[in-house]
Amino acid sequence: MDTTMTMSMLPTLVLAQGPVPELVPGITLFHYLAVSGIMFVLGLIGFLTRRNLIVMFLCTELMFQAAGIALIAFGRFHLNHTGEAFVIFVLTVAAAEAALALALVVLLFRRKETLDGSVWTSMKG
Amino acid sequence: MLLLLILLPLAAAILVPFLGKRQVWGVALLGTLLPLIAGMVIWLSLGIDWRSSNGDISSLNQTIPWMPDLGVTIRLGLDSVSGLLVLLTLILGPIMVLCSKTAITERVRTYYGWILVLQAAMTGVFCARDLIFFYICFEFTLIPMFVLISLYGSTNRKAAAIKFFLYTFTGSIIALAGLVYIAWFHASKTGTWSFDLDVMKTAARSMPASTQWWLFLALMLGFAVKVPLFPLHTWLPLAHTEAPTAGSVVLAGVLLKLGTYAIYALAIPMLPAGAILFTPLLAVLAIIGFVAIGLVCWVQTDVKKLVAYSSVAHLGVCMLGMFALNPTGLQGSILYMINHGLSTGALFLLIGMMYERHHTRSMLEIGGLAKRMPIWATFMVFFAMASVGLPGLNGFVSEFMCLFGAWQASDTWLGSHFVAGTPGYLGPWYAVIAGVGMVVGAMYTLLMVGKVVWGPLKLPHDDHGHGHGDSHGGHDAAHAGSLPADLTGREIITLLPLAGLCLFLGLYPKPVLQAIDQSTQSTHKLILDARQTVRALEGGPIIPPMPASNNAAPADGAEMENAR
């Protein structure tokens, strides 16, 4: 989030294989991470501010994908496929999750005829 | 061989869930009788010369490797003290099963299964020569007991079970921390881990007295709860009152002895200096337990609660003898463990038999049973007298020795030397004040006998088994009508071995005293050696200075009187 901090941390990541081949010249890891960060923050803001359950769910998906972008960027940066493998795994889980979550939302909607998340407080301690 | 004693009841416990309801009792009886027979065979075949070194029966040692990296093995062994307690456990096993035949008719598989597991765990504690196995067995006794109380107890059983479990468990955790510290201390010195109790004893004794003080405190917190020593006793009356008869019998008979045994076999030999430093305090607590709790017994109306409180009082004497820290007191204390198990166990059996017939334990509702149940009454008077400490019966020998041990634990008194005193930290005043407890003991026991056994016959109104509120679990009254007014043959057979042992140990305690002689002498020697360590510490910052001679004792006595 704090860009100067991220910049200062980058040089510590030294690769065994030498310099990183850039797919698009001028676009470095920093840029990918910046996009990921922006997406994540957007998702977070959306999650916190919106009341609609479906929108909130979409926001969580946005945060998920932000993490995925960061992972792929790191995978590229490290010149291995760990990050990609992880993202594929996460996507699978996310798909299952989406199905489950949407089903739940439908159920909740049927109970109270609204998509407002704040009406559900039965977990109060 | 020893493993057999543990595995036999365990095997029966595994078998029990697959049996029909009718066969369970027989299998459970077999599962407790076979170990008893095996135990007897071991006993007789060894032909033990009790006077041999330390009473340790090395031919029974058995080691099974378990976690070699951590130095954990399952090592089993017996010495004369634990051997006697194993015998007590094995004898009480069949009695537990016998006494439950008509009392428990529902969920029998669960009941007998857990009883058998309990039996195995208790045997394990006394056989263990390795800390981890010891502790596992020690803690594993809690679960069967918890189940027995919470499923088969009376009205307030849930609360009693939870209190019993949490209280004793908390104590044990503290004790475990202390024991693990000793193991760590050994490992940090030698570089290898070992949980062998003999190794740990040697290691712990090399600690400075101030460390021993802390560790002894930790160990005592754990074990004294189990005993239970005076301020830590409140779980016991509750648990006893709520537990089913067999539960009370085994609780009084063996489970409490786990605490005293652990103190004798672990705490004192590991930390003799710590034991010395705590001596006057623990003795005072024991005496308060004996006298004040004795008085509490006197105002009870529930018979079972009275006997439960009397357990606390009796174990007060046991602890007084133990912390006399001389051979007399230690021998008396060990003998007391066995005797209390026999006589109080029998009293609980008798109360259970009364409860099964009349569904009350309140002395306000029931009385004069001698007329209706003469055989029962005879046994009741007999065991009450054993419990009071009538000479000729077992209780007297041990009670006298415990008090005498306390008296003897001092060199001088009133300015003159004792010919037959041992250097120690108690003295006549402790015995004199504790002696008051003997009178109190007669007061509450005879009160119970006078109300329940003698007097005009009085029976509760709803004495035919229906319409009473707390019928549940095994205590349902519906089938009690099948019992005759007086004891059945089965019940007499349950009681007779205990009566025989009470008489035998009262008239001829010599075999037992000889058996434990060496063990107590060597413990006393450890104490004498540790006196040097303690002397070096006197006046140190942590511990208040010890009474060097007995001069301070009267002050303690006076304080106690004020406290009361």
Partner: protein, 755 residues
């Protein structure tokens, strides 16, 4: 003196060989001999192990009675078995006495039976308390009358308890046999712990027998009271045993006596301050024990209540044998008392320094004297004849203790011996009346019993007993009481005690004959008692009542109208006659020195020059030697008492309920004596009640404070949970914000830490 000459002229024909060797005249011990007395020349002799039969046979009888109960025997079989066993035991005792007498005295024998409590209190040093028997003349004296009386009373009980044939009968004889066994252990034990076994054993049997009619709440309460008050004494004995062991390293008599010689020599030389306080304290603890068992102030209150038991039990246990165990204890350990006569030094400044002013022997003497007086005053005002006898027992026991306290051990033992016979006679006669008149014991409701058909033997036996108790000249009771009185007057500083005892003797004669004149002579009259039979009806034997003259259904008003007293049968009459003769014959023990010989050749002999026994130079009473003068003085005192009773309770009496004594109105004093000086109430109020309150307080403290703290510890986590509970709002956004904030904080921490 004439009487003295007469006495000594009798002696050669009756005296055992060894008593001839004794010096000294009639009464008082301790003249002549060294400072150590018998201890100096005590030697061990062999004795056949046969003596184990003395305790063994009664135990066998008890076991057989138990077996009869198991086999549901419904006949008098247990009684006959018991009489046989006890007679056998008596025969062996007599044989033992002859063996001991043949040795010439100052000897003892130890017969080892089996090891009992035997452990090492230090490497190689043993605490030994075995089942071994110690036989010396003192043992013989006690066992002779214990087994002899027990056999007689068992025979008496076979008839007396016949209402209860069945389980109750077996229970009675089981406890009876066990009692004689315990008493034998008490008297014959070779160490103090075996004595303790017998001591508590007789207590148990007393408990079981007092509570024999267990359906009567008063009997149960009396049994409990007896046991608990005895327990207080037992505690003293237990502590004394501990103290003896730690001071001397042994509790076996044979090894203990030699240890005492050094202290006895110190005492004889007057160097009391050299005897350690803890050694002197032993005697004080033993005194506590003896006072408990023998019902002395302040622990005497259980004995009158013990009359709830069947009368044979009262006769044997609570008059003749068990209650004299305290006297036996002190006589047995007399050497320990002789070194405890000095004011206890070394206790000054400790928190119970007041004890330092009193010596053990003074406690014994004055305790006994005051008990004698107090019990006699209560006895004078009672109406229940059995209770009067009970108070008279307490009073006579007081005499014995006073005798021990003034170091007249011979007098005390002699009084025990004579008292055993005549008090047993008295009780058994009262028992016969109670048995025949359906439990009637009120002297206002019975009169002229002796003149009724079939009651003559009872009346005569009663007369013999009363003459003895009143101390009429030439009776056994007269001689034995004289020895004590004379010795009390001889020892200078016990003069007040001597007067108390003399006054008590007067009262004794009065209340004894009050009973006799009211109940046994005078106009014939009777009312049956409330308990048409006071027997143990067990659940099983409801049917048996029909077999007897007065079954269950005979209760009630009709029964009273048709009541006929049934005079005693052959067993009761035989035993009464036998005991009456024995009471008379016991008088011959005086001129023949039978008892004196036994006592003064045992360790109960008072060593010459024993401290506290200093005869004041020429102590006199009315200018005469007390030992001589007492023959006349006590005779006169007895006569005065009897004559008073005659005028107040016999002369001119027309009905059973009234007598001339009714005109004497002593007001509050009389009422207080009748109510036993309110001692029971006093104890109840000052001891039992506060203790009960204290117990309740402890119970509350235990429940609220001790258990409360535990529950509080359990409450703390619960309270913590309740405090954190509101943080779980249940709103989705709340969690989301908390999560985001958490991540933010973590990120911040991470960044700050990395920088």
């Amino acid at each position: 003196m004439m009487m003295d000459q007469m006495m000594s002229s009798l002696s050669p024909s009756f005296a055992p060989v060894w008593s001839l060797a004794l010096s000294g005249g009639g009464g008082g011990g301790g003249e002549g001999g060294s400072a150590l007395g018998v201890l100096a020349s005590l030697k061990e002799v062999p004795l056949s192990a046969m003596v184990w039969l003395i305790p063994g046979l009664p135990l066998l009888g008890a076991l057989l009675a138990g077996l009869c109960a198991v086999l549901k025997v419904r006949s008098k079989l247990p009684a006959w078995l018991m009489v046989l066993c006890l007679a056998g035991s008596f025969a062996v005792t007599f044989w033992m006495y002859q063996q001991v007498a043949a040795t010439g005295g100052s000897t003892f024998a130890v017969v080892h039976l089996f090891d009992w409590i035997n452990f090492n209190w230090a490497p190689g040093k043993a605490f030994v308390a075995n089942f071994s028997l110690y036989v010396d003349p003192l043992t013989c004296l006690w066992m002779l009358f214990v087994t002899g009386l027990a056999a007689c009373i068992a025979l008496y009980a076979s008839e007396y308890m016949s209402h209860d044939v069945g389980p109750g009968y077996c229970r009675f004889f089981f406890a009876f046999g066990l009692f004689v066994f315990s008493m034998a252990c008490l008297v014959m034990g070779d160490n103090l712990l075996l004595l303790y076994l017998g001591w508590e054993g007789v207590g148990l049997c007393s408990y079981l027998l007092i509570g024999y009619f267990y359906q009567k709440p008063s009997a149960v309460a009396a049994a409990k009271k007896a046991f608990i008050l005895n327990r207080i004494g037992d505690l003293g004995l237990a502590l004394a045993i501990m103290l003896i062991f730690v001071k001397f390293g042994t509790i076996e008599y044979a090894k203990l006596w030699p240890m005492l010689t050094q202290y006895l020599q110190m005492a004889a030389a007057g160097q009391f301050d050299q005897i350690p306080t803890s050694v002197q304290l032993i005697a004080v603890l033993l005194t506590l024990a003896a006072f408990g068992k023998s019902a002395q102030l302040p622990l005497y209150v259980w004995l009158p209540d013990a009359m709830e038991g069947p009368t044979p039990v009262s006769a044997l246990i609570h008059a003749a044998t068990m209650v004299t165990a305290g006297v036996y204890l002190i006589a047995r350990t007399l050497p320990l008392f002789q070194i405890s006569v000095a004011p206890l030094a070394g206790l000054e400044g400790t928190w119970f320094g007041f004890v330092s002013q009193i010596s053990a022997l003074e406690i014994v003497a004055y305790g006994g004297g005051l008990t004698a007086l107090l019990a006699a005053t209560i006895g004078m005002a009672q109406f229940d004849i059995k209770r009067i006898m009970a108070y008279s027992t307490v009073s006579q026991l007081g005499f014995m203790f006073a005798g021990l306290g003034v170091l007249a051990s011979y007098g005390a033992a002699f009084h025990v011996f004579t008292h055993a016979f005549f008090k047993a006679t008295l009780f058994l006669a009262c028992g016969a009346v109670m048995h025949g008149f359906a439990g009637q014991l009120d002297l206002r409701k019975l009169s002229g019993v002796m003149w009724m058909k079939g009651w003559l033997i009872v009346g005569l036996a009663m007369l013999v007993g009363c003459l003895n108790l009143a101390g009429v000249p030439f009776t056994a009771g007269y001689f034995s009481k004289d020895v004590i009185l004379a010795e009390a007057f001889s020892v200078g500083h016990f003069r007040p005690l001597a007067w108390i005892l003399l006054f008590t003797a007067l009262l004794t004669a009065y209340y004894t004959f009050r009973v006799f004149f009211r109940v046994f002579v005078g106009p014939k009259h009777y009312e049956p008692g409330d308990e048409l039979h006071a027997h143990d009806d067990h659940g099983h034997d409801h049917g048996h009542g029909d077999k007897h003259d007065h079954g269950h259904d005979a209760k009630g008003h009709d029964a009273k109208a048709h009541f006929h007293p049934h005079p005693p049968g052959w067993a009761i009459n035989t035993v009464l006659a036998l005991l009456a003769i024995a009471s008379i014959a016991a008088a011959f023990a005086y001129p023949t020195y039978f008892v004196k010989g036994l006592v003064d050749t045992s360790t109960a002999q008072v060593a010459a020059g024993a401290a506290g026994h200093t005869h004041v130079g020429g102590a006199t009473i009315f200018g005469y030697d007390p030992h001589k003068a007492m023959y006349y003085i006590s005779g006169i005192v007895g006569a005065v008492g009897i004559i008073t009773a005659f005028f107040l309770h016999y002369l001119g009496r027309r009905t059973a309920a009234t007598s001339a004594a009714d005109n004497l109105n002593l007001g509050a004093l009389q009422r207080a004596a009748q109510n036993k000086w309110y001692v029971d109430e006093f104890y109840n109020f000052t001891i039992r009640l506060p203790l009960k309150v204290l117990s309740h307080i402890f119970h509350m403290l235990d429940k609220l404070v001790v258990d409360g703290l535990v529950n509080l510890a359990g409450l703390l986590p619960r309270a913590g949970g309740a405090g954190l509970r509101p943080s779980q709002s249940g709103v989705l956004h709340g969690y989301a914000v908390a999560m985001a904030a958490g991540i933010g904080v973590l990120g911040l921490v991470a960044l700050l830490a990395l920088r």
